[in-house]
């Protein structure tokens, strides 16, 4: 997307540096003059918001790590030490724990935005695939981090999730148990497990940062998709990234930070499970083991299948499916705005994920709102639709649907929409 550079070194030092390390030229091309479609809406600001949250999580995490102790006998108390004795320790911890939730909220909006506007379609398949990798890395990082306070849900969550792998015993006896023992570093979730989870929790964010670099690199080759889903045809369709999108991203980032601040300062424990304020106890299982809200749809998929191995495979499949989205969608039109039939299925998918999230949050034997309908049936239906959507609906709708006519260009569409300006 970035054409021939317009950067002109002005001083002797800039000319010297430009011949050796063209970092100013690079920044100028990718951060300042980078041509961006002029019609990006609010949903396109979440990429920038995610970058800010990755940075926030790394910075608060680094300081928290200075005060945290990854030892099963001391971890819980060291978190309380942070909350009570470290200067502004409560602030760092609440920023970090609620930051994880905000990070996932932003990434879900970012993913559904990509799905809605067809940002995964050619020539942007690599951006999407790197995005799915980032999402999986985020899930791993969040899971590992949730273990660190060594509360009841930390311990039992770690036990349940790592035990997924024991399902492979059904394939080859001993295989699953072997994997689980290897993951734990022992015969139970214990000190060795906590140590390695801490090490990996510190490592993965930097892996994420690296993949984010690739994600943005891949983005800057074809340039941004846009709400119309049509290609940029010339300079009249774009605006330089700075100041247009720096100020727009900042404005919506600031709005998002208000929500973040609400949680951090006025309801810091709303999104967490109370029982995680009780220290880990390996001989007492909590009433219900519930993951954090951002994992609930996947938890519902897992629990909707009575066979453990198939449930675990379904959970993995629900993530692996996302890697194929670029090829499952057969429509030539990117933006769902011009796809009246697919639009309805898109919103069904959104509703489906929300319903799965609700099912995942409820006890396994719950019923649907005082009716005799077991909730697990709703979970099964939701699981079925999740896979149907990607593997059947997406390929089929693209073939049978008649899309609406596409506008001629971004510039025409934008200027027609806002004649008053």
């Amino acid at each position: 997307m970035s054409g021939p550079s317009t950067y002109q070194p002005k001083t002797g030092f800039e000319r010297w540096l430009d011949a050796r390390l063209p970092i100013i030229r690079f920044s100028q091309e990718h951060l300042l003059s980078y041509p961006t479609p002029r019609n990006l809406n609010i949903w396109y600001t979440f990429g920038g918001i995610l970058t800010v949250f990755l940075t926030t999580q790394i910075l608060t995490g680094i300081v928290l790590a200075m005060h945290y102790t990854a030892d099963s006998g001391l971890a819980f108390d060291s978190v309380e030490h942070i909350m009570r004795d470290v200067n502004s320790g409560w602030l760092l911890r609440y920023l970090h724990s609620n930051g994880a939730s905000m990070f996932f909220l932003a990434v879900y909006i970012h993913i559904f935005r990509g799905l809605y506007y067809g940002s995964y379609k050619a020539p942007r398949e690599m951006i999407w695939i790197l995005g799915v990798i980032l999402y999986v890395l985020m899930m791993a990082t969040a899971f590992l981090g949730y273990t660190l306070p060594w509360g009841q849900m930390s311990f039992w969550g770690a036990t349940v999730i790592t035990n997924f792998f024991s399902a492979f015993d059904a394939l080859i006896p001993g295989l699953g148990t072997g994997i689980v023992t290897w993951l734990w570093g022992g015969f139970g979730v214990d000190n060795a497990t906590l140590h390695r989870f801490y090490s990996l929790h510190y490592l993965l964010p930097f892996v994420i940062a690296g993949v984010v670099g690739l994600h943005i690199w891949a983005l800057h080759v074809p340039g941004n998709n846009n709400p119309l889903g049509i290609d940029v045809k010339g300079p009249q369709d774009t605006l330089p990234f700075h100041p247009y999108y720096t100020v727009k991203d900042l404005f919506f980032l600031s709005c998002f930070l208000i929500l973040y601040a609400y949680f951090v300062f006025f309801n810091p424990n709303l999104l967490g499970d109370p029982i995680n304020y009780a220290p880990a106890n390996p001989i007492q299982t909590p009433e219900d083991i519930v993951p954090e809200w951002y994992f609930l749809p996947f938890y519902a998929i897992l629990r909707s299948i009575p066979n453990k191995l198939i449930g675990v495979l379904a959970l993995f499949a629900s993530l692996i499916t996302l890697f194929f989205v670029s090829w499952l969608d057969t429509s030539a039109v990117r933006s769902t705005r011009f796809r009246p039939l697919y639009k309805q299925f898109f919103w069904m998918l959104v509703a489906d994920v929300v319903i799965l999230g609700y099912v995942g949050s409820q006890p396994v034997d719950a019923v649907l709102f005082n009716t005799p309908v077991p909730l697990v049936w709703l979970g099964r239906l939701g699981t079925l639709y999740y896979f149907l959507h990607f593997w059947i609906v997406m390929p089929l709708v693209g073939l049978i649907e008649t899309p609406k006519p596409l506008p001629d260009s971004i510039a025409k569409s934008v200027l027609a929409a806002a004649p008053a300006e």
Binding site: R84, L250, L257, P274, Y277, E421
Partner: protein
């Protein structure tokens, strides 16, 4: 290819709904009993109003001091308060005891002493060496370990109270409801196990803790009526502070942060409008 009209989608949705509605029939064989007859689920906690509710709520200092008295004279016989040091009683945003009061409170407690000059850790009678606590010490637990606790408590393990308000669904209202939820007769179908008390706010309604508070359990120096309700309110306020001692600092900081963010967002909005003028 023909265009599939929305009406067909609606039909599909109807078919899906029909499947959902048919589910109980399909599931009739393996469905769990829909409504388990008389429930022993805990009652929802009483909804009380507290001085620390809301974005500007702060702890009532007098209630914190009275609540500490209730903890010290009643709860501490069985419940530890591991994460609280005596010095915390004088911290900003806490009960607000003076330095002298904190030292005097600490001096009433005995904590294990360091080995003496001969390296001995026990006295002539074989008892562990003890010394008076100082403000830097933490509240000593009522029993030395879990086994000793269970041995003294008929097998029960009274939980540590430092985080109890944050560690239970319903939080301060739950703890208040437990403390004031004793004294009702159990329904005929609920048999009390020996040594258990009936408390409908507790899961399965049977709690190993006997009613801890009575009218007159403590005598308040400030003349506040010492009813069960008042004692419960005071000790719950104290335990909420124990669980979240930085709440006042948090809300104060939050107010300033919100003020800044709202102003900053408004400025960014105008900057955004100005930069984009005529561009969209």
């Amino acid at each position: 290819m023909p265009h599939l009209p929305p009406v067909k989608v609606a039909f599909l949705a109807a078919a899906v709904s029909a499947f959902v509605l048919a589910a109980p029939v399909l599931a009739a064989d393996n469905a769990a009993p829909a409504a388990p007859a008389p429930s022993t689920n805990a009652l929802p906690p009483k909804q009380m109003s507290w001085s620390f509710d809301g974005p500007f709520g702060v702890y009532d200092r007098a209630a914190l001091q009275r609540g500490f008295q209730v903890y010290k004279e009643v709860c501490s016989a069985c419940h530890a308060l591991t994460h609280i040091a005596f010095r915390n009683l004088g911290d900003t945003g806490g009960p607000g005891f003076t330095t002298e009061q904190v030292a005097a409170i600490a001096a009433m407690y005995k904590v294990p002493a360091a080995p003496d000059e001969q390296g001995k850790t026990v006295d002539a009678n074989g008892q562990p060496l003890m010394r008076a606590a100082v403000p830097a010490d933490y509240f000593p637990p009522p029993f030395p370990n879990e086994k000793a606790t269970r041995a003294a408590m008929n097998g029960a393990l009274p939980p540590d109270l430092s985080l109890i308000v944050k560690a239970r669904e319903g939080h301060e209202n739950y703890v208040y409801s437990i403390l004031t939820g004793f004294g009702q007769k159990p329904p005929a179908n609920e048999k009390m196990a020996s040594g258990m008390s009936y408390n409908p706010y507790f899961p399965r309604h049977q709690i190993a803790m006997p009613p801890p508070l009575t009218n007159g359990s403590v005598t308040y120096a400030d003349g506040t009526p010492n009813t069960v309700d008042q004692e419960a309110r005071d000790v719950v306020t104290f335990l909420t502070w124990a669980a979240e001692p930085k709440m006042e600092e948090r809300k104060r900081t939050g107010f300033n942060v919100m003020l800044f963010l709202l102003g900053f967002t408004v400025l960014l909005y105008f900057a955004y409008r100005q930069v984009w003028h005529g561009k969209h």
